[in-house]
């Protein structure tokens, strides 16, 4: 007996590729554009969303039978808000510089469509264990795209990865900079993040033709 049944495995693996929240469901785009200029911020954002969505899904799933359906959105918001404030406080306490970089976007996890979407679509109808897996899977799919975008934006925009100067020093002209390479300032602007998301969608759909919508 494997740790996870086949159905449970697909809960985690599907959102990574063929049912990705960002590239297929096109949710959570705003934060993917806003905080991905640095890889570190992307990773922290991905982890924060993973925590909020995993915990939130469990909590909502546990309460799913006692939440009156008329006020369920408010209840969901209260749960998300509580979790987000926890994340925010932890970041402020242990990674103050980073929390300044992420600024309002940690708070804005509340409005991340993926979270409310999973609460509504999954946690309200499934048990806590499966909801937890679903939350982890979807936030991992979200985080994966965030990290890919963050990787390219930081590498091409600043020439660094996680703050390490992998391409050389632009001021002292070492490494690639010695032969005239320059950082691409466009990569640091949000429009380029949208274009990178578009390119990821393009690559994904040209590899898997079944994902292309009829029109």
């Amino acid at each position: 007996m494997a740790l996870l049944s086949k159905k449970d495995t697909s809960l985690i693996l599907d959102p990574l590729a063929d049912n990705n929240p960002i590239t297929i469901q096109v949710l959570g785009i705003c934060s993917a554009l806003a905080i991905t200029a640095e890889l570190k911020a992307s990773i922290v954002m991905a982890l924060s969303v993973m925590f909020v969505l995993g915990m939130g899904n469990v909590v909502i799933s546990l309460m799913r039978n006692i939440i009156p359906s008329k006020i369920r959105i408010i209840v969901q918001l209260v749960v998300v808000a509580a979790l987000v404030i926890m994340v925010d406080q932890v970041l402020k306490a242990f990674a103050y510089e980073l929390s300044k970089t992420l600024s309002v976007f940690v708070g804005l996890i509340i409005t991340n469509c993926i979270i409310m979407g999973r609460f509504e679509a999954f946690a309200l109808a499934n048990g806590p264990w499966r909801s937890f897996l679903d939350g982890i899977g979807n936030s991992a799919g979200y985080g994966l795209i965030l990290i890919i975008i963050g990787f390219f934006r930081e590498l091409l925009g600043s020439g660094t990865l996680l703050g390490f100067k992998v391409l050389g020093d632009p001021i002292e002209k070492t490494g690639l900079y010695a032969i005239g390479y320059e950082n691409n300032g466009f990569m640091l602007l949000s429009p380029m993040a949208l274009i990178v998301v578009g390119l990821i969608i393009w690559v994904q759909r040209s590899r898997n033709k079944a994902l292309i919508e009829e029109n």
Partner: protein, 422 residues
């Protein structure tokens, strides 16, 4: 066997193969193919895409040649200036010289070659992958790109930007004729946002200005708009005729207003470009210029304002400096990305001129806005067309409603219907 029949045979041999579009492209590029359409209704006209493109390129050649001379001239003028000699431009005296031409060709032609090689490679690649014919769309773009970048743009930057512009600006929308944004301006915008230090400032417009600036007398390769933006209009040594004939620093092909004007007249005469867009864009620029001049005259801003230099610039001179003339004639009139309806073209052109001067004056980082204005209006062109067509439908419906339908002989419904459809 001639090259043409050789190519034709290759085409037959590779029919249906993956590389077929590449051979077809070379064949149709060099010769007119023998194939004719056999079935279906079709209109045969001589002005096919290839001829249209070639006409535009012909209109660009004088600008390119002037750009080559000017690149050399500005370089040697800067060398002189570094030695404390101020040059006075004279067309046959010190402008049309071999020295200028060789130096200019040495710097400009690599830009042209890289632009064409990279752009056409991307086009061929997409044609082979997607299995369609190579279209001639890049021929004009490839010529425009080197003309709208600063002379010392590093070639690899240009190559990266061309790949970006052709793929993101054109191919993702479906290739030539389907693009929303002008690909040449997409390339320019990419360069501007990605490598701003190479695209603006006072060191990029003259070849090797950075090295020369180390000399005893610091030289300035500043554009006229750059001078004005810094409020140093008085230090500028260029006369109005210099601006009009183009003996000024700037992007390679944008300086000579008179040659651009001639190219524009040629395009209007050959009916390739829309005179409505050109005229309305000029009007738009003049209106905005007059408004700014009016603001200065009314004393609403003081001389200490950082916009004073550009706002007090005589309104008609906006047309002969910077990239406005080049943008209006060669970029705004792009038939794919511009407005399609005649009435729409007036709005489209007007706002290009209007917004160009607006951005030029208020852009804090870079005193030029033509390419941004045209890209913006590219996006709005379908909307403009939509409302023009809607307005037309409304007007005709109204006319149909108010039309008195005269009853013919007999009161039969058939006659009434017939009258309504008139």
């Amino acid at each position: 066997m001639s090259l043409k029949s050789n190519l034709h045979n290759l085409k037959e041999k590779y029919k249906g193969k993956k590389m077929a579009p590449a051979f077809n492209a070379i064949h149709t590029f060099l010769y007119a193919p023998n194939e004719t359409t056999h079935s279906g209704s079709h209109v045969r006209a001589v002005d096919d895409l290839k001829r249209t493109m070639n006409t535009v390129i012909m209109a660009l050649v004088p600008v390119l040649i002037f750009g080559i001379f000017n690149a050399g001239y500005q370089h040697y003028a800067a060398v002189d200036a570094a030695n404390g000699v101020i040059r006075q431009a004279s067309l046959f005296g010190n402008f049309l010289t071999w020295e200028n031409f060789i130096m200019g060709a040495w710097t400009v032609l690599p830009l042209v070659i890289v632009s064409y090689a990279v752009g056409l490679a991307v086009e061929f690649l997409f044609a082979v992958i997607k299995g369609h014919e190579v279209e001639e769309g890049y021929l004009v773009t490839g010529m425009l790109v080197p003309l709208i970048v600063p002379i010392d743009t590093p070639l690899w930057m240009l190559a990266v930007a061309v790949v970006f512009g052709v793929v993101i600006g054109k191919e993702v929308f479906g290739g030539t004729g389907m693009n929303i944004l002008n690909p040449a301006l997409t390339i320019r915008a990419f360069l501007f946002f990605a490598y701003p230090t190479w695209m603006s400032g006072d060191k990029v417009w003259v070849h090797q200005a950075v090295d020369l600036a180390g000399g005893p007398d610091a030289i300035s390769g500043e554009t006229i708009l750059g001078y004005l933006a810094q409020g140093k209009g008085a230090e500028m040594s260029y006369s109005v005729s210099d601006m009009f004939f183009g003996f000024i620093p700037g992007s390679v092909g944008e300086t000579s207003t008179i040659l651009i004007l001639l190219g524009g007249l040629f395009l209007i005469y050959s009916k390739i470009a829309s005179w409505r867009i050109m005229v309305s864009a000029v009007i738009g620029a003049l209106v905005m210029g007059v408004i700014f001049n009016g603001v200065v005259d009314a004393g609403w801003i003081t001389e200490t304002s950082k916009f004073y230099g550009l706002m007090s610039f005589a309104f008609w001179q906006h047309l002969i400096v910077g990239g406005l003339a080049f943008g209006i004639v060669y970029m705004a009139t792009d038939p794919v990305t511009g407005a399609q309806t005649n009435r729409g073209k007036w709005f489209y052109g007007f706002f290009i001129g209007f917004i160009s001067v607006l951005i030029r004056v208020f852009n804090p980082a870079y005193p030029e806005g033509v390419f941004l204005a045209i890209l913006l209006m590219n996006v709005f062109a379908p909307t403009i067309d939509h409302y023009v067509i809607r307005g037309n439908i409304k007007r005709r419906l109204k006319r149909a409603k108010n039309a008195t339908i005269l009853p013919r002989d007999g009161e039969g419904k058939a006659q009434e219907l017939k009258a309504e459809t008139v």
